[in-house]
C-alpha cells in the first residue's frame, strides 16, 4: 500500500491532493521551484524538495529532478495533478521503470488519447460518435477538398498533435480551403514537430459537456455523470456546473455509456474525463479524453459524494472500485467558479502580485480550493488561477443564488481578480435560464463587462475611508511617545485602532 506520495505539481491542485493524502494517513512530499519556496503546497506538505529554477521546464517539467526527489524522500508513488507532466507518457513510463507508482493511467492510454487522430480512430472503432470528418491524416490536398465537400462547410482543420488553439483553422468558404490546410500544417509542424492535420465538421455554437469516469484494474469502469463547461473565454473554462441545464435523462444515459466505452477502449485505469461537443439539438460528438484529474472535478465530488483523489489512490493501490454504476446517484446542483488573478476589464490581462487581504466565503454549501494566503506573492511564472469556488444547493436556482452570495463574500485585495466578472455571469438572464453555450461570454460581452456604478453616497464613503487612512498616517508619522520601537506589529495595530477612534 502507498505510504508516501510525491505531488509533482503546485498551486491549488497540489494542496488538494495532499489533503486527501492526510485524510488517508499517507505522507505527502512537495516539490518546488525557486519561485515557490513560500507557496502553500510547500507549507502544507510533510516534506518538501527543491527541484530547480522558476521556468517550468527547469523544475515542474523536469522528469529527472522529480524522480530524484521521489527517491531522496522514498516516496512510493507520484501524483501528477493536472497540467505539467500529468499527460506525459514518457513520465508515466519512467515512473514504472523506476519502481514508483504513477497515480494515473499507463503510457498506452495516455499516448492513444494524446494523439487526436489515433483517438478519433479508436473511438470510431468503439462506436463512440465522433465529429464528422476524417480519421486519417490528410496528405493529398485534392482529396482534402473532396472530403470537405462531402462533410460540408464550415469545417475545422486541426493538428493531430494540437492543443491550446495552435494548428487549428476554421474554413467557411471553399476558396480558403487550400491556404487553411497549408497554414495549419506549417503551424503544427513548428509548434509540435508534427504536421499531420485532419478535418472535422465545424459545430456552430456548441456546448462543452464532459463525463467523469473511474476505472480500476479489474475491468470495472463507470461514469460519474456529466459536467457542463460551456462558459469559456479563449478556450479556457470559467464556470462549470452539473447537472447540465440542457441534459435529459435519456441522453445522459447514452453519453455515459459511450464515455465508459471510450475509456474501456484504451484499457483505462484511474480517473479520466471524456469531453464531448454538443449542439443545440443534443447531438454529441467525442472531442477528446483528458487522462488525468480535471480542474472542475469538485462539482462531481459534491453532487455524487465521492472523493476522486481517494479513488485514484485506491485504484493505484490495485483495489477494486467499492461501488457500482447503479450505486451512484446525483444529489442537487453544484457550480464552480474559477477565480483568476486577472483584470477582466482589461482583456483578462494577468495580474500577479502580493495578496494583501483575503476573506473567503463560509457557511452552508461552500467549498473553496485555493492556495494563496495573506502576504503571499503570486509568481508571474505560472497559471493565473488562484482559487476555485464550489457551491452546492438543492436545485439550480438556489445554487446560483448561493454562488452570488459566495462571490459577494469573497474579497481579495492586492491583485485584480475575476470575482466581479463572475458575479455578472451569475446575474445574466441567459445563464440563469441555462440557455448558453461556448459563445456565451463573446455574445454578451457588452452586458458582462459593463461597469456597475455605486451611488454618490457610496462614492463618498470611499472618500471618507481614504481621508481616515491619510489622517492616520499623519498621526503615525509623528514621533512615538515611548521609544518602544521593538513592540510587535499587532500591538502597534491595536494602538492604531485606538488612536483612530479618538
Amino acid at each position: 500500500m502507498i505510504q508516501k506520495v510525491l505531488v509533482a505539481n503546485r498551486g491549488e491542485i497540489a494542496v488538494r491532493v495532499m489533503r486527501t493524502c492526510r485524510e488517508m494517513g499517507i505522507r505527502s512530499v512537495a516539490v518546488y521551484s525557486d519561485a515557490d519556496r513560500t507557496a502553500m503546497h510547500v507549507r502544507y506538505a510533510d516534506e518538501a524538495v527543491h527541484i530547480g529554477a522558476a521556468p517550468s521546464r527547469e523544475s515542474y517539467l523536469n522528469i529527472d529532478r522529480i524522480i530524484d526527489a521521489a527517491k531522496q524522500t522514498q516516496a512510493d508513488a507520484i501524483h501528477p495533478g493536472y497540467g505539467f507532466l500529468s499527460e506525459n507518457a514518457v513520465f508515466a513510463e519512467r515512473c514504472e521503470t523506476e519502481g514508483i507508482i504513477f497515480i494515473g493511467p499507463d503510457a498506452y492510454a495516455i499516448n492513444t488519447m494524446g494523439d487526436k487522430i489515433s483517438a478519433r480512430k479508436m473511438m470510431n472503432a468503439a462506436g463512440v460518435p465522433i465529429v464528422p470528418g476524417t480519421v486519417s491524416p490528410i496528405d493529398d490536398e485534392q482529396e482534402a477538398i473532396v472530403k470537405i465537400n462531402e462533410i460540408g462547410l464550415p469545417v475545422m482543420i486541426k493538428a493531430s498533435a494540437g492543443g491550446g488553439g495552435k494548428g487549428m483553422r476554421l474554413v467557411r468558404s471553399e476558396h480558403d480551403i487550400l491556404s487553411a490546410i497549408r497554414s495549419a500544417r506549417s503551424e503544427a509542424l513548428n509548434a509540435f514537430g508534427n504536421g499531420s492535420v485532419y478535418i472535422e465538421k465545424y459545430i456552430q455554437s456548441p456546448h462543452h459537456i464532459e463525463f467523469q469516469i473511474l476505472a480500476d484494474n479489474f475491468g470495472n469502469c463507470l461514469h460519474l455523470f456529466e459536467r457542463e463547461c460551456s462558459v469559456q473565454r479563449r478556450h479556457q473554462k470559467v464556470v462549470e456546473e452539473r447537472p447540465s441545464p440542457v441534459m435529459t435523462p435519456e441522453v445522459r444515459l447514452e453519453m455515459g455509456l459511450h464515455a465508459v466505452n471510450a475509456a474501456k477502449a484504451v484499457n483505462y485505469s484511474g480517473a479520466g474525463t471524456i469531453e464531448f461537443v454538443v449542439d443545440d439539438n443534443l447531438n454529441y460528438y467525442f472531442l477528446e479524453m483528458n487522462t488525468r484529474l480535471q480542474v472542475e472535478h469538485p462539482i462531481t465530488e459534491r453532487v455524487v459524494g465521492v472523493d476522486l483523489v481517494r479513488e485514484q489512490i485506491n485504484i493505484a493501490n490495485n483495489l477494486p472500485l467499492s461501488f457500482r454504476q447503479e450505486d451512484l446517484k446525483q444529489h442537487g446542483h453544484s457550480i464552480e467558479c474559477r477565480i483568476y488573478a486577472e483584470d477582466p476589464d482589461n482583456n483578462f490581462m494577468p495580474s500577479p502580485g502580493l495578496i494583501k487581504h483575503i476573506t473567503k466565503p463560509q457557511g452552508l454549501g461552500m467549498r473553496t480550493d485555493g492556495y494563496v494566503y495573506e502576504g503571499y506573492e503570486i509568481p508571474m511564472e505560472y497559471d493565473p488561477m488562484i482559487s476555485k469556488l464550489i457551491v452546492w444547493a438543492a436545485d439550480r436556482s438556489e445554487a446560483i443564488s448561493r454562488m452570488q452570495r459566495a462571490l459577494y463574500e469573497y474579497k481579495i485585495t492586492g491583485v485584480k481578480t475575476s470575482i466581479r466578472f463572475l458575479e455578472k455571469v451569475m446575474q445574466h438572464p441567459a445563464f440563469k435560464l441555462g440557455k448558453y453555450n461556448t459563445t456565451f461570454i463573446e455574445q454578451y460581452a457588452d452586458e458582462l463587462f459593463a461597469g456597475e456604478e455605486c451611488n454618490s453616497d457610496c462614492q463618498d464613503m470611499a472618500v471618507i475611508a481614504a481621508f481616515l487612512t491619510y489622517q492616520q498616517k499623519l498621526i503615525e508619522a509623528q514621533p512615538p511617545k515611548h521609544g518602544g520601537q521593538m513592540t510587535n506589529n499587532w500591538k502597534a495595530y491595536g494602538r492604531r485602532r485606538i488612536k483612530i477612534r479618538i
Binding site: 488573478a341 486577472e342 483584470d343 482589461n346 490581462m349 494577468p350 495580474s351 500577479p352 502580485g353 494583501k356 487581504h357 508571474m380 511564472e381 505560472y382 497559471d383 493565473p384 459577494y408 474579497k411 485585495t413 492586492g414 466581479r420 461597469g451 456597475e452 456604478e453 455605486c454 454618490s456 453616497d457 457610496c458 462614492q459 463618498d460 464613503m461 470611499a462 472618500v463 471618507i464 475611508a465 481614504a466 481621508f467 481616515l468 487612512t469 491619510y470 489622517q471 492616520q472 498616517k473 495595530y493 492604531r496 485602532r497 483612530i500 477612534r501 479618538i502
Partner: protein, 168 residues
C-alpha cells in the same frame, strides 16, 4: 479645514467637522455625513451611515496621498491634493507637455522591444511585449510618437507600475 480630493475624475473636497470616538461628521462636497467609521481589519474600514453598513478597503498607492479604494462593486483611485501636491502638480504640467510613460500594469518579463531610442512610430505600433502567467501582452501607442527613451531590454523582469518606454 477642507481638503481637496480627487476620486477617479471627480474633484471634490472633504472636511472633518467633528469627531468623537468613531462617530464623526464630514462634509464631502456640499453634503453632510454623520457616520460611525473605524478600521476593523488592517486597511479595512467599517462605516455605518443612516444604518447602512459599508465595508471599504483602502490600499496605499505609490505615495502617501494616493489610494486605491474598493467598495463592494467599484475600485476608485483617490488622491489627496494638499498644498505640497498642488505645487508638484503645477510644476509637472509645465515640464513636458506631450511626454508619456509606458508603464507595466503588472509584474512580468520583457519578451520583445521592437523599438529603439529615436524611432518614429505610428499609431498602433507595438513598443514592448511583456509576458506574465503564460500570457503575452503587447503595448501599443495610440497616436504617432517619437521614442524618447527605452528603459528595458529583452529578458528584464519589470515590476507593476515600472516605466518601460518614454515617448513624446
Amino acid at each position: 479645514m477642507a481638503l481637496e480630493i480627487k476620486i477617479n475624475d471627480r474633484l471634490t473636497s472633504i472636511e472633518q467637522i467633528s469627531s468623537e470616538g468613531s462617530k464623526q461628521t464630514f462634509r464631502v462636497g456640499g453634503k453632510i455625513y454623520d457616520v460611525d467609521a473605524l478600521m476593523v481589519e488592517n486597511g479595512v474600514y467599517s462605516i455605518l451611515y443612516n444604518n447602512k453598513s459599508y465595508n471599504i478597503e483602502v490600499i496605499q498607492g505609490e505615495n502617501d496621498k494616493d489610494f486605491e479604494v474598493n467598495t463592494l462593486y467599484n475600485a476608485y483611485n483617490i488622491d489627496i491634493i494638499d498644498a505640497e501636491r498642488k505645487y508638484l502638480m503645477s510644476r509637472k504640467t509645465n515640464d513636458a507637455d506631450d511626454e508619456a510613460n509606458i508603464k507595466a500594469p503588472m509584474p512580468g518579463k520583457v519578451v520583445r522591444v521592437p523599438v529603439k531610442t529615436g524611432d518614429k512610430i505610428q499609431s498602433g505600433d507595438t513598443v514592448v511585449v511583456v509576458s506574465a502567467m503564460k500570457m503575452e501582452s503587447e503595448y501599443k501607442v495610440k497616436q504617432d510618437r517619437l521614442v524618447k527613451e527605452v528603459l528595458v531590454k529583452e529578458g528584464d523582469i519589470v515590476k507593476g507600475g515600472q516605466t518601460m518606454i518614454v515617448v513624446e
